[in-house]
Symmetry: C2
Subunit: 298 residues, 2 copies
Amino acid sequence: MKIGIIGGGSIGLLFSYYLSGQNEVSIYTRTQEQANEINEHGLHLIKGGIEQGTSRVKAAPIKEWGGNEELTIVAVKQYQLPKLLPELKEKMRGSILFLQNGYGHIKLLSELAINEVFVGSVEHGAVRANGYTVQHNGVGVTRTAVFRGNPGALRELSSKAASGFPFILETDFKEMLIKKLVVNAVINPLTAILKVKNGELIHNPYYFKIFEQLFEECACILELPDKEQYFNNLKAVCEKTANNHSSMYKDIENRRQTEVDAILGYLLELAKNKNKKAPLIHNYYHCIKGKEHEREGA
Amino acid sequence: MKIGIIGGGSIGLLFSYYLSGQNEVSIYTRTQEQANEINEHGLHLIKGGIEQGTSRVKAAPIKEWGGNEELTIVAVKQYQLPKLLPELKEKMRGSILFLQNGYGHIKLLSELAINEVFVGSVEHGAVRANGYTVQHNGVGVTRTAVFRGNPGALRELSSKAASGFPFILETDFKEMLIKKLVVNAVINPLTAILKVKNGELIHNPYYFKIFEQLFEECACILELPDKEQYFNNLKAVCEKTANNHSSMYKDIENRRQTEVDAILGYLLELAKNKNKKAPLIHNYYHCIKGKEHEREGA
């Protein structure tokens, strides 16, 4: 299958590397420089501290993307999506898979006149080492689900998956994304503000109290049908990634913009629309926005 | 006047230094070592980075305190007070002035069969440099008020005050302590968790949102009669100490026990007794306790 991957961050590089074995992958990066680097060096993957080899993919800047591949995977941050949307609307012909966190992008997808629209939730841990090298730190799965249309391209992706990079086809895109949203809404801001690894949230009895309270607020606002199931999933993710630093922790640490708008910002808006109180979500949203503001001031 | 000062921390050293000019001061420290150091070197004060001179006071370990001075000033942390109380009850004869933060110690004072009981609220910034040297970083005032009895000793203290170390006699001890409690409840935990200087809480628009919300919760639980006055005072303190790190920030930074139980712990108990919700106070209480717990685990 011909696959286009938009975005040269950690997820874009990771998907390009693993999918290039069985597919013809083109990666589209924000800058011409990064595209040149990838074309020159190939894509490098580091796993367990060891260089895994090189994979050759075609790289070009995003403006050269023509929507001609059978499947386009959008691997930019949610806050970069609105800028990209006019181009997607204009050129897109094949199927499209969105890998953004949060739930706020769902309303943007309705605007697309594309037959096959899919969404995904990535459970891999990955860090971009440089423009053409990605570290695969936590092996997980990629969950995908149909937002609209025929799941053909997803089935093909899943059946041809490389070893160590599995895809799972879920039936309910909403449940899939909300589950990830809950995980991100609790683990990300708490670890970023308390400056701890994920596991501390359940192993430190005081932090666990906050963890529970923040989950309760999310559950209330999202009106989760089976609260316990979501809470168990949240705890399981925390346990499984106990020694990791969350993406928001790293974004704050490295003074980068975070995904807080897509995560807590979305929940805060939902709370407002539903006329529900969300004091902790409000608090952590402003903690993270304040940290981003500190960066701008410096 | 003969004055006994219990506690060899920053406040105990600061008061001993400034009061020794006009009074006969004895300082009582937790360890024999610190008493020896003070007796050997005298008390040193550093202000604006410059050594101000030496003051000779008598120093002894707390167990030698006999309650014989006309005024005893208790300058230990609130969490150290319960351990000291039996001794105070047994030996105390003169007047006594308590300088603890928070409001939780007020119920302990009722147990004392002492005629003259005073409370104080210290608005100086001071850091202990070593066992016999204190840095006077922020010049403020000491507010005092009568809890029970005749204000004679307070009047004398005030009239003989050293220049640069004024005392103000307040009429309402409760209002005085609550005002300080509100300041400590908002500025201390926020600066300690966000790792910022006091001024950031009002200059960073996102942090200011949290600042307002946390104040609102305190105001509601304390049923403040004139909310605006307390809020203006809080903002004024933040502005005046904009470049300072709060005591709780420094306690967390230096992995010391904080005064969170006397401050947010007191408010949390009050909220529980009044059946009021306090999600932010609950949150920041557990953030700080979690930080203290991290220290124990390491």
